[in-house]
Structure formats: structure tokens, C-alpha cells
């Protein structure tokens, strides 16, 4: 088998495989553009319509759910970036007593499934009066053991000489972190952004547990109720699906090269 032939064979196989991955997305997009009369039919392009989008945006609470999702995701993202990154730098580079124990406590969280903490956290949120509030949806999720681990793995690969040179020039430890390390860490921070963003935007079990007022729903929970209510109208539910998915795909396309790097550094070196 010559090289050209084998390349063609590869492309054919890969294209067939990717069809399986593309068809559900294509179905969702196509159905979201159908009028009620055309559901489950194959129609010409000029019969497609945007009315489902205006209907869903105007006649459901989806705008509020969007706002809630954005506030919660940004809140958690900012907290994650700040808290995980400083902790990771501290663990990677600074020396102090008790560090090994702290490292163990942070990494240990990665092994424990959320079921083990969700019941007491739910009671705590109820007691604090934070059910149906942004506090309840944001504060327990500001840190993530996995992302600390990811950043630490990255920081230990930065050559020490850079920090030593800066020290000679009289830059303090805090200055080194902000002025030398952070500018070098754009790639790793990109990885952290995409993990934290997609994880929060798509999260379902926590918001469905900590919120029961539909005006405080995030998009995933909102879509689930939309689907249950309008299951007979796939054009409407698919519109919801597309509206929920678009922001994640945009961010993914912007940051995707960081994600691949991130998986390579944590997954395989670690």
C-alpha cells in the first residue's frame, strides 16, 4: 500500500467517524430552524426560519437563565484563576513548614466524588439562607484541586534561573509571581480558563440541587425544564440546546490549543 492510498483510506475512515459526531449537532441546528408544520420533515433551505429563536427568547425565562449562568460562571472563573494559581505557585516554588501536608490535602480532593460532600453542603446552604442565591452557587466552587495540580505541574517546568535573576535585581517574591511568572503562564492560564469555564457552564447537579426557584435557574437546569415542558415540540427544545451550546463552542474554539497542551502536561507527565 503506497503512502497516498493509505492517506486516502485514513481520511475516509476519519470522515465516516466524524459523521457520527456531527449528525447530532446538525440535527439540533436544523430542527431549531424548522417551523411547527415542518417538524421531522426534510425541507428546502428557504423554508427554514428564525422564529423559534425569537419565541424562546421572548416567551421563556431563558434570558434570566443566561444572565444567571454568566454571573455564576464568571464569578467562579475569576475565583478559580486567583485562588488556584496563587496556591499552585506557593506549592511549586516557595518553602515553608507544612507544605507537604497542604499539598496532600489539596490533591486528596481530586479522588473524592462530590456525593460525599453535597449533603452537608446542601444543609449548610439552607442554614445560611443561600438557597436560590448567587452566593450558594458560587462560593463553594471557588477552588479546584485538579486545577491547582494542573498549574503546579506547569510552574515546576519554568526554569529557576529566571526567578534567581529577578531576585538578584531586587524583585520581591510577590513581584516575581506577578511580573515574571504570570506573563510566562498564559498557556497554562488558558487551560485553566477552559476547564473552569466549561465545567461551570455545563454543571447540572449542583445548581439543580441548590436552586428551586425558576428565576435563579442556570441554563442547564432551565433547558431541562424547557425540554420536559415542550417535549412534543423538538423545534423549541433544539433551539434551547443551541442557545446553551453556542457560548461553550465559541470559548472552546478560542482556547482549544491550550486545552490540548493542558491535557498533555497534566495527564501524561503527572
Amino acid at each position: 500500500m503506497d503512502n497516498r492510498k493509505s492517506q486516502w483510506l485514513r481520511y475516509t475512515l476519519l470522515t465516516i467517524c466524524s459523521l457520527v459526531f456531527v449528525v447530532p449537532f446538525g440535527y439540533a441546528l436544523y430542527t431549531s430552524l424548522l417551523s411547527k408544520a415542518d417538524i421531522d420533515k426534510l425541507v428546502a433551505l428557504n423554508r427554514l426560519t428564525w422564529t423559534n429563536y425569537s419565541d424562546v427568547l421572548l416567551h421563556s425565562d431563558i434570558k434570566i437563565w443566561y444572565k444567571n449562568s454568566i454571573i455564576v460562571t464568571l464569578g467562579i472563573l475569576i475565583g478559580n484563576l486567583f485562588i488556584n494559581t496563587t496556591a499552585a505557585y506557593s506549592l511549586a516554588r516557595l518553602r515553608y513548614p507544612g507544605k507537604a501536608l497542604i499539598f496532600f490535602l489539596i490533591i486528596g480532593m481530586m479522588m473524592v466524588p462530590y456525593q460525599v460532600t453535597i449533603i452537608p453542603i446542601y444543609s449548610m446552604i439552607v442554614k445560611l439562607g443561600w438557597l436560590n442565591s448567587y452566593e450558594g452557587l458560587i462560593l463553594p466552587f471557588l477552588f479546584q484541586g485538579f486545577l491547582v495540580f494542573l498549574m503546579r505541574q506547569f510552574f515546576i517546568t519554568i526554569p529557576r534561573e529566571l526567578e534567581e535573576a529577578a531576585e538578584v535585581d531586587g524583585v520581591t517574591k510577590i513581584g516575581i509571581f506577578f511580573r515574571i511568572i504570570l506573563p510566562l503562564s498564559r498557556g497554562a492560564i488558558g487551560t485553566q480558563i477552559i476547564f473552569s469555564y466549561t465545567g461551570t457552564w455545563n454543571s447540572f447537579v449542583w445548581p439543580v440541587t441548590l436552586v428551586n426557584d425558576s428565576r435563579m435557574y442556570v441554563l442547564t437546569v432551565g433547558l431541562n425544564t424547557l425540554k420536559n415542558r415542550y417535549f412534543e415540540w423538538p423545534n423549541l427544545t433544539m433551539t434551547g440546546v443551541i442557545l446553551l451550546t453556542i457560548p461553550i463552542i465559541i470559548v472552546f474554539l478560542i482556547f482549544q490549543r491550550h486545552l490540548v497542551q493542558g491535557i498533555a502536561t497534566t495527564g501524561l507527565k503527572g
Partner: protein
């Protein structure tokens, strides 16, 4: 050691600015300062709840009336292990793990090997395969319910050609678990493709070249070089696959619609679904906590068994 140190010694504590500079340069001070936020948050939102949950698991405690809690020893654990619903959920999770994890790992390996040597469009393909993984599980489940719907569903019609029944898969007691398996595999394959692609990069290309000189064909290369050299990656893929699949929850939650969790008739009840309905549908905080620790134990056990097997292979 350097200029800052000398200067500091002379004017120790003289000006607040300098005192700050000295603190800002102390490894111990900055070290604690940087981990302080996560330690506080971890204590409040992880380790304290972890401890409470452990204590709950030995108590008869209800969300509706927490003050009536009483210590009952191992009764929650015993109750779970005698509950047929738990064993049904256990069976479903075990089937899901035993079928979906090897299946998704194999498909991911094949796609990754195919994709590795491709010259153009590699990024496009990788993105396409990865998209399901970053899409909301609720969105994916919603789409798949329509694809696997009686009569009109594209997938139902496709499988009907091969003699499978024309039913709504998610609502059929026989087809609901296979539906969940397909959904799971479809979601996770792309993630493992990316991990395998990373693993393939670590195999030096001269290994393949010298085997070619020795007359090895593509098939032999795959079994004698690629598979053994990817063993660490495969360990990672299987371990994280087991952990993810044992955690499946959103999909059964979404497909139950307004019915009870695990619908139809418990066919999609996984161990996490069992946990969740005990804790939050029946408000049994103590019993639910015991279920949570059983899940935790199962995940640790599955990982250890898996580790043992991959080790013995080497």
C-alpha cells in the same frame, strides 16, 4: 546574597514600606499568604462537609427534621446492602462500566492512530471529535432522546434496519441501558482521542522505521509497538473512564423527564442516581451519606483492581 538583603539589614523595621518589602520577600510569609485562601475555602466547603457526611452516615437523620437525629451505628450501610434497589443500581453501573469503558477506549485508540499520521485537517478532526465532551450533558441527552425516538428518530430507524425494535429507547426497559451506554461512549470518546494522541507523540518514530526495515507490517506494528508502548496512557484512559462512568447521573436525570429518577422502572438507575434519590427525593441525609461513602469505596476499589490488572500485564 544580594543588594536587597544588605539594604534590609540596615533599616530593619524603619519604614512600613520596607517592612512590607521584607515580608513580600519572605518565602514563608508569601507561601502561607498564597495558600491561605484555598485552605480557608477547603476547610469550609470540603473537609468540614466531608467529616459531617461521615458522621451522618452513622445517624438516622432527615433533612426535614435534623434535630431528631440519632446514632444508629452501621444500620444505614446494612440497609443499603440489603436494598434490592441498590443492587439494581449497582448492576446497571457495573454493566455500564464493563461495556462503555473498554468500548470507548478502543474506539478512541483506533481514531487516534488514524488521526496521528494525517497531515492536513488534523486540528479540524480533533475538534469535531472533542465537541461532544465539552457540550452540556443535558443538551446531549435532549438531542439523543429525539434521535432515539420511536418512528421519527434517525438512530431508531437506522438500528431498526438491523432488526432492533422500533421503540423510544429511553422509555423502554430493555433499550434504556443500551441508550445510556451509547450516550456515554459518544460523549467521552473525543476526550480519550486527545489523550491517546498525546501518548502517541511520545513514541519515537525511529521505532517504527526500524521495525519496517525488519519487515513488520502495519498490523504487527500496531500490536507489537503501538499498543505496548501506550500502556501508561491506556492505564490513564481506563482509570479516568471508570471514574467518569461510575459518576453518570445527569443523563438518567434528564431522560427520566418528569418521571421518577432511574425511569423507566429503574432501568437507568445508576449508583449515583440511587444516592441522589435517597438523599434528595426522600430527604434521608444519613442513609444518603452512607450511600455516598459506598460509592467512594467502589471507585477506589475499581481503580485499585484496574491498576493491579495493568501491572500484571507488563
Amino acid at each position: 546574597m544580594n543588594a536587597v538583603h544588605v539594604g534590609k539589614g540596615k533599616e530593619e523595621g524603619a519604614k512600613p514600606r520596607l517592612r512590607f518589602a521584607r515580608l513580600a520577600n519572605s518565602s514563608v510569609f508569601v507561601g502561607y499568604l498564597f495558600v491561605a485562601p484555598i485552605i480557608l475555602l477547603m476547610a469550609c466547603w470540603f473537609y468540614y462537609p466531608l467529616l459531617r457526611s461521615f458522621l451522618y452516615s452513622f445517624q438516622d437523620i432527615n433533612f426535614l427534621n435534623p434535630s431528631a437525629a440519632r446514632f444508629i451505628g452501621l444500620d444505614n450501610y446494612k440497609g443499603i446492602l440489603q436494598d434490592p434497589d441498590f443492587w439494581n443500581a449497582f448492576r446497571n453501573s457495573a454493566l455500564l462500566t464493563v461495556i462503555a469503558v473498554p468500548l470507548q477506549s478502543m474506539i478512541a485508540l483506533i481514531i487516534a492512530v488514524g488521526l496521528n499520521k494525517v497531515i492536513r485537517m488534523k486540528g479540524v478532526f480533533r475538534t469535531l471529535y472533542y465537541m461532544p465532551y465539552i457540550t452540556s450533558t443535558i443538551a446531549v441527552t435532549t438531542v439523543f432522546m429525539y434521535l432515539f425516538m420511536q418512528q421519527d428518530g434517525i438512530a431508531t430507524r437506522f438500528f431498526h434496519l438491523f432488526g432492533l425494535k422500533d421503540v423510544s429507547w429511553y422509555a423502554s426497559v430493555t433499550y434504556a441501558l443500551p441508550f445510556l451506554i451509547i450516550l456515554t461512549v459518544w460523549t467521552y470518546v473525543g476526550f480519550y482521542v486527545v489523550i491517546y494522541l498525546g501518548g502517541l507523540q511520545t513514541i519515537p518514530s525511529d521505532v517504527y522505521e526500524s521495525s519496517k526495515v525488519d519487515g513488520a507490517n502495519v498490523w504487527q506494528q500496531f500490536w507489537k509497538i503501538t499498543v505496548p508502548m501506550l500502556r501508561p496512557t491506556t492505564f490513564l484512559v481506563l482509570t479516568s473512564g471508570i471514574i467518569y462512568v461510575m459518576q453518570v447521573f445527569d443523563q438518567p436525570y434528564a431522560l427520566a423527564r418528569n418521571g421518577s429518577l432511574g425511569s423507566p422502572a429503574g432501568a437507568t438507575s445508576t449508583i449515583v442516581v440511587y444516592f441522589y434519590s435517597q438523599a434528595f427525593s426522600y430527604n434521608r441525609a444519613g442513609y444518603g451519606s452512607a450511600a455516598a461513602f459506598i460509592i467512594f469505596t467502589l471507585i477506589v476499589a475499581a481503580t485499585l483492581i484496574q491498576k493491579r490488572f495493568t501491572r500484571e500485564d507488563i
